[in-house]
Amino acid sequence: MSNLSESHPPSFWTRIWESNIGYSFRSNPVAVASLMIFIVIVLMAVFAPLIAPFDPYDPAQIDIMNSEYPPVWIDGSDPKFLFGTDDQGRDLWSTILYGTRLSLLIGLCAVALQAFLGITIGLLAGYIGGRLDSLLMRLADIQLSFSTLMVAIIFLAVTQAMFGSETFNQYAIYFLIVVIGVAEWPQYARTVRATVLAEKKKEYVDGARVLGFGPMRIMVRHILPNSLSPIFVISTVQVANAIISEASLSFLGLGMPPSQPSLGSLISSGFDYIFSGSWWITAIPGVVLVILVLVINLLGDWMRDVLNPRLHKG
């Protein structure tokens, strides 16, 4: 009997497809559409150099004479430029592809940094406990009481003023990742700490300790897997927020420079032309940004409904 059923063990993907999560995903068209759009955007970002008809970072390909062409479906356009051109004469479509790449890269790296810091601190605080725990959590409270965006704006403004905009622009991408990455660690730390405290009481952790496993191994192998689903849910929201934060900072001129624009800086450069009628320089990157953030948020919502049994009941 058991031999028969085990002769074709279901593959990893089949198991996911058949599971409750898989079912809830299949039966939720919004989640399916969101994931598909997200994958398309990610692929476009990854393969931007192959897809884009022009290289927006190559000054030789940019001609100021081409500036402010409208998209092809509007009179006075140039068929070479699908979505028209920006104020410097760059092909908007190519610039958007490269910009999406930067926005996604910064968002993902910043959240990876947040997660790394937060999980490490959360594990330490929860596992070691005592004074270290109360100190770290006090720090998390204070950190959370300050808005990330505010901290980031002041940090970047001061950095920019200190180094001058030329040096700043050169390293802007690293500054953005670090400042967005460092400011939000308490989100992870609190969740992980709570799971650690809940898991620490359970027998298997005692068992592992009795068997002589070190605290490192117990934390990473036994406790961490149990906090994975809240970490997943937080991460989606955090990626969406990080992308918005990056765009906001770039819009204020405290992020990616116009020569190497992310979606935020592209919107910013177009804002000056909105009154003169060149709405597309702002509108098209804006739509891409909103769709990107929206699908991530929709996926996050779906994931929270599925993975959080408390809310799932409701």
Partner: protein, 326 residues
């Protein structure tokens, strides 16, 4: 109660101390005060003399002590650009920003509670679905983009509302001028407040809805039903009171966050508040003004958080403030 208050105030003071340290470090490293005072064509000897006179050669601790002493008396340095005390410059701009925050807060509080409660009680109606749909789109659009969209729609295309500035303001007292006293003032503050509220409002609707739905699952709500209470009493007394407690905590933090968003909103609408001023100060490397802004904003954050914590303690009967102080 008193012990808790003291503890909380002490903690707030500690945070302000750290902020002042950061502020001083910025002042110490950013820009050269001598160049601002003298220009570049001055001999090295004169410079050294002046450095000595200004105390720039003193130790870090001495210099910081002087900075802190002055700051406590309200002296946060003199703006290079305005040639005025930095604190005065900020206080002049403060009412504009506070009115913007007030307008947005009114919109958020007025709409988020009824909509959050409604979508929690009737999650499957068409209206609820529409509200939740708009909410998730709302949290996905950055504040500055909403602001641009509104300008494009209501100012450029429809020409209904002005796109920049404060319009006719009415003087109230001191340097406080208000937007809320004239029709033109209302017209000018409407779009910026809406834009500022645009990301917080959906956030609060979703927060209130989620909390309310969780509370509606609780045993005490089930028990309230078993007692045969009228539904409105279950929703608005039993459930809402428990829902709003955690919302107060989050709300306090978010009011602080709104100050950050004012920078974005004020930039788009060229609103003459302190956020707009701050970005100009950054572009002009007006160090005293940057530091003064940091300290004022830090102060606003610390004060709102402390007040919110105290309110939470007073509203929530299960928090024993007397015991927390111990």
């Amino acid at each position: 109660m008193f012990a808790y208050l003291v503890k909380r105030v002490f903690q707030a003071a500690a945070v302000m101390f750290v902020i002042s340290l950061i502020g001083f470090a910025i002042q110490d490293n950013l820009g050269d005060p001598l160049r601002e005072l003298l220009g570049q064509s001055v001999s090295e000897e004169v410079r050294q003399e002046l450095r000595e006179e200004l105390g720039l050669n003193d130790s870090f601790v001495t210099q910081y002590a002087r900075f802190l002493g002055k700051a406590l008396q309200g002296d946060l340095g003199t703006s290079y650009f305005f040639k005025e005390p930095a604190l005065d410059v900020i206080l002049k701009k403060l009412p504009a920003t506070l009115e913007l925050v007030l307008g947005a807060t009114l919109i958020i509080v007025g709409l988020s509670v009824p909509l959050g409660v409604y979508t929690a009680i009737r999650p499957n109606t068409i209206l609820s679905r529409i509200v939740m749909g708009i909410s998730i789109v709302g949290i996905s659009i950055p504040v500055f983009l909403t602001a641009i969209l509104m300008i494009f729609l209501f100012s450029v295309e429809l020409r209904w509302l002005p796109s920049y500035g404060r319009g006719d303001v009415v003087h109230v007292f001191g340097n406080w001028e208000t937007n809320f006293a004239s029709l033109d003032g209302w017209a000018h503050i409407l779009l910026p407040s809406l834009a500022l509220a645009s990301i917080m409002l959906p956030l609060f609707i979703r927060l209130i809805r989620a909390e309310m739905m969780e509370v509606l699952q609780s045993e005490y709500v089930k028990y309230a039903r078993a007692k045969g209470l009228w539904p409105w009493r279950i929703y608005f007394v039993h459930a809402l009171k428990n829902t709003l407690l955690p919302v107060i905590t989050v709300g306090g933090v978010q009011i602080g966050t709104m100050v950050a968003y004012t920078i974005l909103t004020e930039t788009v609408f060229q609103w003459p508040g302190m956020g707009f001023m701050f970005l100009e100060a950054v572009n002009r490397v007006d160090t005293p003004l940057i530091v003064a802004y940091l300290i004022v904003v830090g102060f606003i954050f610390v004060v709102t958080n402390t007040i919110v914590d105290l309110i939470y303690g007073l509203v929530n009967p299960t928090v024993n403030l007397a015991r927390m102080g111990a």
